[in-house]
Symmetry: C2
Subunit: 397 residues, 2 copies
């Protein structure tokens, strides 16, 4: 029959890690506890009320009054696909800014949706000026311009406000990827006039991966509601999702209840701290890490002045076996950091200080461990130098 | 600025329900505990090993040796979209069997993927014969035939094996929806020659919604790997997912780690019980419920001989305010059952006995509560009749 013999699985006992990579980040214990709360139905009055409250919380995080603000039942990449697939109809022109993996991914998603894609490209780690975007937009006359605010692959932060102006001056819609940015640095959907935005739960929201917060402004909703063709994905069709997340509560798909519990608690943790305090904490720990790394000769991959606080893409010192360091960090210290992707493969480490993970404890841990491992590999620096430098930043704060 | 004033959310305190609707079903306590275990990275050696083991477990549930057996990072509907979008290229012919909501949904998904869809239709609650499917397939010459094995909207069970034969005799591929079936009744991917199959976690697997187990056989993979066009969804592209879930472990998207923990534990719980014992338990509790309902004059909506064990779609007695009964069940007894959808709206209740929920405790609870509420609404029957009838089934087992 070919039917395999039944056999049970090894017990589920995941190791306890300190997650300082590009995400998933360290999960807040309250969020893990929330994930295990009793499941209710997706049309239960309690869950419908929770959806309302969660939408209110997400509006605060995105700083928007957009009614269509909700959590897509998929990871950040599903959020990207939701935004692109709902705004684009076959044959529409789209401009995508590409200076890392996720801009590239957006091109792929847009082409699959039938867009005629024009890329604006920059070397990895650099950022775009409003002028260069304006020049391409003037030529391509796109319906939508897509850009990544915080490139997880390069650690570069892209100023959005000026780009929003040139995009709207040209009559296009602006779609922004804030998978890594949201909750770790200011994201101002209404003030910056962002038409469509998506994020993920597993970065600065300190929540396991699985949901993608999104928000659509009035101009984007006008475009979506006047489409000539159906959205090519049934699962991600905002016109249908609007009936479930909107006041009608019409059944669409069965929402991931417990994942929404986790996101709810994660949003709550941030609202309790306050967004400004949360951004300041990310910035402080980033500066401490940066000072500590500088003291042992490790610099940043992204353009100075545009380095993300929550994702530190740093240059591997010459002669160091970077994969061995990551492996030792994981197996000897339980610390996960990320490898470089694409153009940065083998050259860059990505150290995340995201959400709950952005704490002095973690900065000291990763610096101490890195000092030891780099010393073992023959790097020379004064022992304790990174700790002293980080400490100085904290003392001055 | 329009920025809303920051305000925190009400505490997260979901009520404890007994979930006897069409899903989500009652979650096994071990599964809830698994969801809260420490998150690791999606490329952590532990997680990669867990993926291997989970795939092995899913193969046992699907009774297949298909290498491409894994969990899609979305709910059952995303599983449907994964199967359809990967098999279909624009212009391909597809036949879809429609006798309820989910067959209808499959048509919509297929049309969005560019398929020329031919429907085989049956009134809600009835099932298809191999002959009628053969007749339509002979005319339409489809690339793919899609059918729902267990229609959650009608409680009807569709025999798959004979249909598989006529589909393959005509040279088409067979895609089967087992969102509700898997884990509650025999599903034999290899023995029945099913080419592509999907399920969900929130039915008989007793796991919160959020993932969609899928499996693709060799013929389906040949079709997918020789596509002329890209799969229209990047997120659900099996050619790329194969690199992450396959031996290469190439990063695609960030897998929902904790949801996979939950599914892992859910599969483990089933493997420990044994599939045959699990099916027998579903059948026994279904028969007890059916006998109990019959004793108070409640019959089934689906064709006799084709009634699902895990989803009992039953006819609301005449003169009963069905919405009030459901509301009272929820608020006074903490029991969720489902309303009728579409053609069955207002006429049918859907009582799920799925996975961990398929227990005598729940059968007695829902019968006792229904007796009380129906008596309050003026229905006349001997009090305790349903309990006595159910008990007789259990005693005879």
């Amino acid at each position: 029959m070919g039917t395999p013999v039944m056999s049970t699985l090894p017990p589920l006992n995941p190791p306890v890690r300190t997650l300082l990579g590009p995400g998933p980040s360290d999960i807040h214990p309250r969020v893990l506890a929330a994930m295990a709360k009793p499941t209710v139905g997706h049309l239960d009055p309690y869950f419908l009320q929770l959806m309302d409250n969660l939408q209110g919380g997400l509006r605060q995080l995105f700083r928007t009054e957009n009614r269509m603000t909700f959590a897509v039942s998929g990871t950040g990449s599903a959020g990207m696909e939701t935004v692109v697939n709902n705004l684009i109809e076959p044959g529409d022109a789209m401009v995508v800014c590409v200076n890392g993996v996720f801009g590239g991914r957006m091109c792929d998603v847009a082409e699959r949706a039938g867009a005629k894609v024009t890329k604006v490209e920059r070397p990895w780690g650099e950022v775009f000026t409003a002028e260069e975007v304006a020049a391409v937009v003037a030529q391509a006359k796109p319906k939508v311009v897509g850009i990544v605010m915080a490139e997880t692959s390069t650690g570069a932060s892209q100023p959005i406000q000026e780009i929003s102006k040139v995009v709207h001056d040209a009559g296009a819609l602006l779609a922004v990827d804030t998978v890594t940015a949201l909750g770790g640095m200011p994201v101002e959907v209404d003030a910056w006039n962002i038409d469509a935005i998506y994020s993920g739960t597993q970065k600065c929201l300190s929540c396991p991966p699985g949901l993608a917060p999104v928000s659509f402004g009035p101009a984007a909703m006008d475009v979506i509601l006047s489409r000539k063709t159906k959205v090519q994905s049934w699962y991600l069709d905002v016109t249908m999702l609007a009936s479930y997340w909107g006041s009608d509560r019409v059944y669409h798909h069965t929402a991931p209840i417990n994942a929404n519990y986790g996101l709810y608690e994660a949003v709550q943790v941030i609202l309790e701290e306050g967004l400004e305090a949360c951004f300041a904490r990310h910035d402080l720990n980033h500066r401490a890490l940066k000072a500590g790394l500088a003291a042992i000769g490790i610099g940043y991959a992204a353009q100075e002045g545009h380095q993300l606080p929550m994702l530190n893409a740093v240059l591997v010192p010459e002669g160091v076996d970077e994969a061995q360091v990551r492996k030792d960090l994981l197996t000897r210290f339980g610390v996960e950091i990320g490898a470089g992707l694409g153009a940065f493969k083998g050259k860059v480490w990505r150290i995340g200080l995201m959400g709950y993970g952005a704490r002095p404890q973690n900065v000291y841990l990763v610096l101490s461990a890195l000092e030891q491992l780099l010393a073992e590999q023959g790097c020379r620096f004064e022992h304790g130098a990174s700790i002293a430098a980080a400490s100085e930043v904290y003392r001055g704060a």
